[in-house]
Assembly symmetry: C2
Homo-oligomer: 225 residues x 2
């Protein structure tokens, strides 16, 4: 019985890792499409969206089944409750990748010279945060999770600076308004991906240490821009 | 034993109802502050934020305790898993109310004549959706939950129209840029509250009917503006 239960937990973890690698790919591709203005990369992002939507429901159903059948306690229970949250966080990260993809398409259609300000730098840090949060989950490494939390303030600041910079440009040149709105949208969605990566890291820490580190900085807001 | 368990489930529901009524108040006050340009209403919104942050953690801990102690199955298990999601949805709604409050403060400081376009209409529908999703949870009424789902497209359309209208005004008058950014932010946060109300309604339907109605329209995206 116990062996069977362990196998199911392993299966749940494997599904989440799969979900994580799909949304990670979507984030990387949508950012790459932006940097290279290459729309063909976005096809995969849209395909991934369908896969993550199905996978999210599949994982949720697995969680209900495991809880009902095995009635786990202690670390196993914490793992499963965290799995439910991570599942939802990953699905939302996939949604933000789609939003970035939409903005890239809009920018491509608009054409013209594009200055990305510090968006490439921001994207690099966000991709690293997402990668580390997934690694911390895969290797059950709360220390790596703590590293992710440390980057959140940096991203908030980059997001605020990009916002200000774009608004200034829009004031100088009204032709910049539509382009500027898309840049702000991309920056905001990157910030949200960083925030959700932070959530995942917090869940890993919760699994390992059975303490809730949410609201750690007293200020974890949605969608700060 | 069973009677004790029922009491704990009742307690969990009561805590969620309390959480719901606090975030509902925050949404109403932040909208009222916008319509009346009355910043004094926002003090309560900020106080509520601290309360919901603590309450979210408290409810999450209660859920772990109930699952570990009573190992519920069937409807009770579904209720508890839905409770975890609703808890998170409500906390996020509170965050969006704070975002609206921040934008109201920024608009107040900026001064000048303010045209809210169809934001008041949108806010009215969103408040109704949130109220109905909470009522559907309180009275375990999936039919009312279905009504909430029906409004989501209307809100998406209002959000898109407000966005376009504001961008047009920004193009006509660069003095409108900063005000316009705040209006778009308010509209987007209202749209997110509608989306989270939809999530809550879906959870109520899940509890009642044990079927997952997520991704019902094939297109449930985060943060569409």
């Amino acid at each position: 019985m116990q062996r069977h239960f362990d196998k199911e937990l392993e299966g749940l973890k494997t599904s989440l890792i799969k979900m994580g690698s799909i949304v990670e790919e979507s984030v990387q591709l949508s950012v790459k499409a932006l940097l290279e203005m290459n729309l063909s990369l976005l096809e995969q992002v849209n395909e991934n969206e369908d896969r993550t939507n199905s996978l999210e429901i599949e994982i949720d159903n697995t969680i209900v089944d495991i809880l009902a059948l095995h009635q786990p306690v202690a670390t196993d229970l914490r793992f499963i409750l965290a799995a439910q949250k991570i599942n939802n966080d990953l699905e939302r990260i996939g949604d933000h990748a789609i939003n970035i993809a939409e903005s890239v398409t809009a920018l491509y259609k608009k054409g013209g010279k594009l200055e990305l300000i510090s968006i490439p730098k921001m994207a690099q840090i966000v991709e690293e945060m997402l990668g580390n949060s997934l690694d911390s989950f895969i290797h059950n490494d709360p220390k790596l999770g703590m590293d992710v939390l440390g980057n959140d303030d940096k991203i908030d600041e980059l997001n605020r600076n990009i916002f200000k910079c774009v608004v200034d440009r829009m004031k100088d040149n009204q032709n910049m308004i539509e382009t500027g709105m898309e840049l702000i949208r991309i920056s905001r969605n990157l910030e949200r991906i960083a925030d959700l990566s932070t959530n995942i890291a917090e869940e890993v820490i919760f699994i390992a240490q059975a303490r809730i580190v949410k609201h750690h900085a007293g200020d974890k807001k949605e969608d700060t821009a």
